[in-house]
Symmetry: C2
Subunit: 688 residues, 2 copies
């Protein structure tokens, strides 16, 4: 009984050659020979635990705890004693850097019996918390670039391998990194780095497509590097700087896309290039300049050197994608809307002169189709309709609306030519969502008077504090969400009929309705500037919303479904829109209003996911190949859906969900959906 | 009997499901199902037949002929009828481009019976003929870069893959090229090239280390590209331009290494960098400038655009190698002579700003050790001692002598610190081998009068026409081979004794021997300039030749051999030296004089081999790992060998071969090799 092995047997459920190891929270488990380091067990099960120093007890990144007790479900009695005794390496780390009492270094701790290992959130998963309305978005880290600390043999005349060659030998021996590719710029730097680190260095290795490349080298132990994720919009460029070792976003910033001076919307920029051959170079330079400045801004905010950035991820719509890469976007300006390159790209960031670390990489998510870009791919990655049972509609409204609809079995995507009306362009009083823009509107159906809410002012216009606050910002225009609301309210108040005609007869009820040439307008606001909704404005929105609705309808046809259970509206516009009004004007199909949500900059979130985790890169690359692309221009039904969707809310649907919230005006005779072949077809399908 | 199959049986040895196919001149053979295209059979046997167009009958590069008749040794009766009938593709090629009557296109011709296929030299092997004294050096082509003609699907809205993505699909389908890496600069070019070629393009694909990269793209069918091979010497840079499709060298040129202004020899350039931190940038810039100019020169000579160059190979000694790559060579200036990088390198040529095709590659052969460079590796590749039964000594004499000794079983290499005496430096009347330099010398042992031969003059000095010719060039100095001869002749004439002392007593016999301070000199030539050999000159050569000999001796010790069967002297010096004098002064060990040869710029030949054939790249990479490196500074025996080798010819060897040619002066007492431990050791070994 004094034999340590038998005394050990007192408090273990099994002392055999093998021990059962269960990792939480992943739940992955496997049997391993007694004596296996916990880190090795994790790796062979595909459980990601970081280790920079390779078991030297320097980096402390591989910390774990033991969950003690009975785990009946798994048939394990786990105990901290089922790890071999605390090692000298761990003791050294504890004394130098502090290690909590319950923590072990998984590179050193060896299993001696059945055990449940917890990977602590703070150390291991380094989860990224993204505030998204009420829900948190977690991004697990598994970056495409990893750091590896190694000790390199000193040079020896007996065996005259070069310094770099001995470094490669060490990386092969200690980290099993074989056939490493070397970048030319490193050759002149290797010797001084090795000598400065006294033959101890940290190497950064990038892996993609089965090819591993040595992209960075620091003297001694080094455990810091950063990454940037960009969403290049036609209007705005957004940038997030991440600490790649913790996964935390340490700075974010945005700027206007300076390409605006070459054209407000995408097509005008394409036209600029068409009219000015070689003009893409100016557009490319301007967007890259803006990106370099944004990087400088987030780095200075976070107090880091931009050359510490090793990875960068970019998403954007196809035209932004091409211009960023220096590709002439002319082909995207007309059928067949051929992308120069659609697949995911992974190349050295220096090729775009981004002025990051000399070995830094750039990853660009795949484009889905000629009008459905890497931004839509990123939003899809972030919102993951492919992981849902229920059909989810994801809409990113910009100059074109990018629409993705699907569930775990099947996904379809399309782009609808909404034009820029939702962004406030083409609307007489339209503007971007900036202080002074009307974002919410209520119209009294009796008096036809308005109540408004303005960006930058907390109170509604009939609240007592409004007058005082509005002085600072003024009322300058109507932004996208405001336009949706004003049209919805005008429809409910009878100011427009279901065909979208502004009712001149209402002038009798209110002086806000005025004759405006051969049509009528409604005066939304009288102030320093008079803001009115004209017949042309209504038509613009009708065209835009009908295009979006028809696109969604086509995708529903493709999937042979008659209703959508969940709607996610991406982008700034989507975040502020009231679902009730979106359905009321017929922007999206009728749907349980509680299942319609704004998801903010989903494209930016997707870009950050690809930045922090290479598994997400593979995920979106595989998914995009699976997505069925619908070209609206090729679908004969599109025109029919479009025409039917021009009415308010449209001429087809019954709006069961919306009817619970608002009293819809009665339909005109002859407008009932039952006379419509599309409606008929839809009903047939819902029977099956 | 009218059945074609049975009539066929009349003149074939076997008509079965399989046919035996034998390729000449390689002799490779295999059985293939009837119907297999000859090209496919060749590929599966590793017989390299080029095909750019992939069997479309456009390129005509895969032509073969049938060797008809009985091949008893191989048990084959071969007939042109054992290929299926001439195809439409072949007929079209014949009508458009002409195809000799006996030629078939191996992509189209299918085997129907046993057959012997000849791969014609002119079409297939495109052998490179290099004049090398009396022997020809053949380089088979199998370049690391290949051209592939493909037809690409046009863009289609139904399946919106990018243009580049469809190109990759075509390369995968038609050429089995998977996981192709793409270079960033290509993205903006793909669309216009595809459209210009009407969806037919030729792609250049580079393969190394298992990674294939798309490095070039041309509209339509394209079957031309070029390569350059460089030998960067401390003194001279040599460049060869090759047509990569034929293997022919189409232009060659050379220039002085402009780094000379930073220091004549290697060590003075290393010192320059040591004294001027960052000075390597100037040295790197000057050598790259010279290389760019040489490329311009050979391209203009051959009438091609430098941007048509897709591949480049460089060799050089370690210091040249490092400076070319922009690496500070300081570490090479002192023990342990650590190379920054020793392995073979393969990277984009744009990284060195060579201004070639944007996708062009650079390959650099591996260095063997800190003093034995990529030039020695290239010379070894060219002279191939590793393919010989007999031990072969390969010596490249420069500022350091790089020495390789071995046979098919074992190879050793070292560098000996000869200093620049053999290049004419450190010799009072020394100069490079240029017009006016004495290259050959005879001294009458009775009168001590000289006969000389001068570079640029056909006659010896006692020929009638000499006086007239010499006027144009003058006699300006003595080059390396002349110095060897004059010392050998002085020794034979008794002007120096075996210890190298210039014999003042000889002044009695001739006024050419004069007192020169405390020592004596011999006047070699009296003309516009008086050229004399001083005691210091003799000592310089003694030190140099002893260093070389001692290095060779060490390698022989290592291999435990007592004689060398074949000696190859590389470099300009080696090409002009008379083997008899080389042995007479003890530069190299005694050897059958007919087995000593100059091999010219073997390093340059090796560079061209690596340029034209990737198999040679693998060959030298594997070989260099196998070569045993001897660091002379670490070997205790080196000093002993060195001291013994100071005498003329040396104090150890018996010179059986040399004794047949010249009568050697008797050795002084006490100088016999039998009293010398090294000699004793050698004899012990030769007994075993």
């Amino acid at each position: 009984m004094s034999d340590p092995a038998s005394s050990d047997a007192n408090h273990t459920t099994s002392i055999a050659d093998d021990a059962l190891v269960l990792f939480m929270p992943s739940g992955r488990r496997g049997n391993f020979p007694v004596g296996t380091p916990v880190l090795d067990a994790a790796r062979s099960l595909g459980v990601y635990i970081e280790s920079v120093c390779g078991g030297r007890g320097i980096c402390g990144r591989c910390q774990v705890t033991v969950a003690e007790g009975q785990f009946a479900k798994h048939g394990i009695t786990s105990s901290a004693d089922h790890l071999a005794a605390f090692t000298d390496t761990e003791a050294r780390y504890r004394s130098k850097r502090s290690l909590a009492d319950d923590r072990r270094l998984s590179c050193s701790a060896k299993v001696t019996g059945d055990i449940v290992i917890d990977i602590p959130q703070d150390v291991q998963m380094q989860r990224q918390v993204v505030r998204k309305r009420a829900e948190y978005k977690r991004i697990d880290r598994d970056p495409a670039i990893r750091l590896h600390f190694v000790q390199v043999e000193e040079p020896d005349m007996e065996q005259p391998l070069g310094d770099l060659d001995r470094l490669l030998t060490a990386l092969k021996t200690e980290w099993h990194l074989e056939h490493l590719q070397i970048e030319t710029w490193l050759y002149p730097k290797v010797q001084s780095i090795l000598r400065k680190g006294k033959w101890e260095v940290t190497a950064a290795v990038h892996t993609a497509d089965g090819i591993s490349t040595l992209i960075g080298l620091w003297p001694g132990f080094h455990d810091k590097f950063y990454g940037v994720a960009f969403d290049i919009g036609s209007t705005t460029i957004a940038c997030h700087l991440s600490d790649m070792m913790s996964g935390r976003t340490i700075a974010s910033s945005g700027t206007s896309n300076p390409q605006i001076r070459f054209g407000e919307d995408l097509m005008s920029r394409v036209s600029f290039v068409m009219m000015n051959p070689g003009g893409e170079e100016q557009l490319t330079k301007s967007v890259r300049d803006a990106i370099r400045s944004l990087i400088e801004k987030v780095c200075s905010e976070a107090g880091i050197d931009r050359h510490a950035i090793l990875d960068s991820v970019f998403v954007g719509n196809p035209v932004m994608h091409h211009l960023f890469l220096g590709i002439d976007p002319t082909e995207l300006g007309g059928a067949p809307f051929a992308l120069a390159v659609s697949g995911a790209l992974d190349f050295p960031a220096r090729d775009l002169e981004l002025d990051l670390h000399p070995g830094a990489r750039t990853y660009i998510l795949p484009c889905i189709a000629g009008h459905v870009g890497a931004d839509a791919a990123a939003a899809t990655l972030a919102e993951a309709p492919h992981k849902e049972e229920e059909y989810t509609l994801l809409v990113d409204v910009g100059t074109n609306a990018e629409i993705v609809l699907g569930n775990k079995d099947r996904i379809v995507a399309a782009s609808s030519p909404t034009g820029p009306a939702f962004e406030g362009a083409e609307i007489s009083c339209g503007q971007r969502a900036a202080p002074g823009a009307i974002e919410r509107v209520r119209i009294d159906p009796e008096t036809l008077e308005t109540r408004i809410k303005v960006v930058g002012v907390d109170e509604w216009s009939d609240d007592p504090g409004f007058a005082e606050q509005i002085e600072a910002v003024g009322v300058t225009g109507v932004c996208g969400s405001g336009i949706i609301e004003v049209l919805g309210e005008m429809f409910l108040a009878g100011l427009i009929d279901e065909d979208g005609v502004v009712q001149g007869a209402m002038a009798e009820k209110s002086d806000r309705v005025i004759a405006d040439g051969r049509t009528f307008s409604y005066i939304l606001w009288r102030g320093a500037v008079e803001l009115k909704i004209t017949q042309t404005d209504v038509r613009s929105i009708q065209l835009a919303k009908a295009a979006l609705y028809a696109g969604v309808k086509l995708l529903m046809d493709k999937l042979e479904i008659s209703e959508i259970r969940k709607v996610k509206l991406a982008g700034a516009f989507g975040s502020y829109i009231d679902p009730k009004y979106a359905i009321l004007i017929g922007l999206i199909p009728d749907c349980d209003l509680s299942k319609v949500s704004g998801v903010g900059n989903a494209a930016g979130t997707g870009a950050r996911m690809a930045l922090l985790n290479r598994v997400h890169r593979t995920e979106i690359e595989t998914l995009v190949r699976r997505i069925e692309k619908i070209e609206t221009a090729l679908e004969p039904k599109f025109q029919e859906h479009f025409v039917n969707a021009m009415a308010f809310p449209n001429k087809v649907d019954a709006f069961p969900n919306l009817s619970e919230k608002v009293r819809l005006p009665e339909r005109k005779q002859g407008s009932s959906g039952s006379e419509n072949s599309s409606g008929g077809r839809r009903r047939r399908r819902s029977r099956s």
